[in-house]
């Protein structure tokens, strides 16, 4: 097991109280696994990714542990985390296009970054250039300023830089959302290629777009209101989803071939609950067509119903 997260809780401190953005998430990721993490905006999916790399000032680690390759990650100690960040756990941020320092040539920026990890640019240069060519850029981007590159080129450059030290875990946060369909496909397939070539051992791909995850991920996890609703191998999740939220989410996606006149799709009525004072019991019950009295009283546990397939719903177990 490459990554093991146990009962992770991360809250946001606000004037109104704690927003329970991540409220007890337990999951494991195997070596070589690409896990897709999907959910509506505000469900805590980005918070999950961010808390594995950096818990910033207004975030508060309330409980739970994270273990990477058998070593506990000191996620609430930012100084200790420096030993892991970039080298063991790395992230491709949501706005990769603004992640490059505009005042430095790209090569110089990479050199400075490597120096902070005690790696000499000279030693890494050959591998860096090999990977730059692999993603379809030319070697001379290292002598250019970020402003000289297009959005898609910057995105690829950041992908190369983030994975340069062959991290064990890579978090890709909504990296395809701002791209055109054709670049989206190329970026997504490059992620798989990075895994296949062993640049990264395992990966968490965070996005709201389930259909992209279906293309590239081995397992899928669906989050709802700060908790995991369901996790399963991708094929299982698509062929027999058990959580009503997953079912509604999948059936609301239009595909090529589905047309309004012939088959009218429907959305999920209602909105997710406020995470400031989340309701007791199941958090999806107000929008759930299957809800029963028990759902209001008792919170459904996240249990494994078949190997690798876990779900948090009273009606599914």
């Amino acid at each position: 097991m490459s990554l093991q997260v146990t009962d992770l809780r991360v809250y946001y401190r606000t004037l109104a109280g704690d927003v329970k953005a991540l409220d007890g998430v337990t999951l494991g990721i195997a070596d070589g696994e690409i896990m897709g993490l999907a959910g509506e905006s505000g469900c805590g999916k980005s918070t999950f990714g961010n808390s594995l790399i950096r818990i910033e000032g207004r975030m508060k680690h309330v409980g739970g542990t994270v273990t990477l390759d058998g070593v506990p990650l000191p996620i609430d100690d930012q100084r200790e985390m420096d030993h892991f960040r970039f080298a063991e756990v790395s992230i491709i941020p949501q706005y990769a296009m603004s992640a490059l320092n505009p005042t430095r040539k790209i090569g110089k920026m990479v050199a400075e970054l490597l120096a902070t990890r005690g790696v000499r640019y000279r030693d890494a240069r050959e591998e860096l250039e090999r990977r730059i060519v692999l993603v379809g850029l030319s070697r001379d981007v290292l002598d250019r300023y970020p402003i000289e590159l297009s959005g898609g080129m910057k995105q690829r450059m950041v992908m190369v830089v983030s994975t340069l030290l062959d991290p064990s875990l890579l978090i890709a946060d909504e990296i395809t959302s701002a791209l055109d369909v054709s670049s989206q496909r190329a970026v997504a397939q490059t992620l798989v290629e990075f895994r296949d070539r062993g640049f990264v051992k395992s990966m968490i791909v965070v996005t709201h777009d389930v259909s992209i995850l279906y293309q590239i991920s081995n397992t899928l996890a669906i989050m709802y209101a700060g908790k995991l609703a369901e996790k399963a191998p991708t094929e299982v999740m698509m062929s027999r989803p058990r959580h009503p939220y997953t079912r509604l989410l999948i059936s609301s996606l239009p595909e090529i071939g589905v047309r309004f006149e012939e088959q009218r799709l429907s959305g999920i009525p209602g909105t997710p609950p406020s995470l400031l004072n989340p309701p007791t019991g199941c958090r999806f019950r107000d929008r759930c067509p299957l809800a029963i009295a028990k759902c209001a009283e008792e919170e459904p546990p996240f249990v494994e119903i078949e190997p690798g397939h876990s779900v948090a719903c009273w009606m599914a177990t």
Partner: protein, 331 residues
């Protein structure tokens, strides 16, 4: 009918606007009431520019946009107000379309000030209620609220309701659901379908092919400001003729069909890698696939009608119908 006839637009860029950047080139199509046309293109293809020109937010450089036979660039004063009575727009970001200082229904008040100054309070209330009903919003839930108290889907529906307050017959919907969550976007899309059934003509601008396919009768595919393919939606998606359209459709992530490997050749020209044979690497293939009979027609419109109402074109033809990117021997 709202029709575009060989419309072109270029932006002035660079120091003192010294360089022309062509954004839209020779685009012609028309929109009828009760019809949804999806205008699909990647970023920089000029799709939003077309929407803004129809709404008169941008001027047209060449060609004409006409509404029931009247060139809209000539409209002034009362005539322009009458035009905006029938043609309205909704844009991508519902959160920035509202002024956070005012309550969300302030956008209705602005319409009242301009168009319904003489309407009585009861008459106005009836209109607002009707418009809100059309977009399936409960007046009690949205009126008197501030924008931050409403969800993205509710805000976007309020903006559509605002557009419907007038005698709107055409709606320019520019990426109106790309900021919404998957669970709510289909509801807004269905709403457009219902409004269409009530006679509204909708120009649905999007980069998402599956959404365009779901809702529209006709599809226009744009590439670098030019139409590369246009026709009935089932034909464009079922039998795409232009290699660019095929590449776009093949790139759409489907739920039950996996992507094939993306070949290096396919990556060329997608933005991932610039194509070696700019500006048009598709022309040779297009000619080989049976369009050769009509190369002359390419010269006139840039498009060839392959079958009933289904047009396809070269990305950059020369004046004589040959491809701008390849030698003439291709034919």
């Amino acid at each position: 009918m709202l029709s575009l006839d060989r419309v072109s637009k270029s932006y002035k860029v660079g120091l003192f606007g010294g360089t022309d950047l062509p954004a839209v080139r020779d685009v012609s199509f028309s929109l009828q009431p009760g019809e949804v046309i999806s205008l699909i293109g990647e970023s920089g293809s000029g799709k939003s520019t077309i929407g803004k020109m129809i709404l008169r937010l941008l001027s047209v450089n060449r060609g004409t946009i006409s509404h029931d036979g009247t060139d809209i660039s000539t409209l002034r004063g009362t005539a322009l107000r009458a035009y905006y009575r029938t043609v309205q727009g909704v844009f991508q970001d519902p959160f920035s379309s509202f002024n956070p200082i005012f309550k969300a229904d302030h956008v209705f008040g602005l319409i009242r000030g301009v168009y319904f100054g003489s309407a009585s309070a009861a008459e106005w209330e009836r209109r607002v209620d009707e418009a809100l009903q059309a977009v399936t919003l409960d007046p009690g839930q949205v009126l008197g609220k501030y924008p931050h108290q409403l969800s993205g889907g509710q805000l976007q529906r309020l903006l559509i309701a605002r557009a419907l307050l007038l005698d709107t017959r055409y709606l320019v919907a520019d990426e109106i659901i790309s900021m919404l969550d998957a669970s709510t976007r289909i509801d807004v899309l269905n709403l457009l379908g219902d409004l269409k059934a009530r006679g509204l003509g909708i120009l649905f601008i999007t980069h998402d092919l599956s959404l365009g396919n779901y809702i529209s009768e006709r599809t226009v595919i744009l590439r670098r400001g030019q139409i590369v393919e246009m026709g009935p939606t089932p034909a464009v998606f079922g039998k795409p003729l232009h290699p660019y359209t095929r590449m776009l459709i093949a790139s759409v992530p489907q739920l039950h069909v996996k992507w094939g490997r993306l070949e290096a050749g396919e990556r060329a020209g997608t933005g991932w890698t610039p194509a070696a044979t700019e500006p048009c690497r598709y022309h040779g293939e297009l000619l080989a696939s049976g369009a050769s009979a009509s190369t002359a027609a390419l010269a006139a419109s840039g498009l060839v009608e392959i079958e009933d109402g289904h047009f396809t074109g070269c990305v950059s033809p020369n004046a004589d119908g040959t491809c701008g990117g390849r030698p003439t021997t291709a034919s």
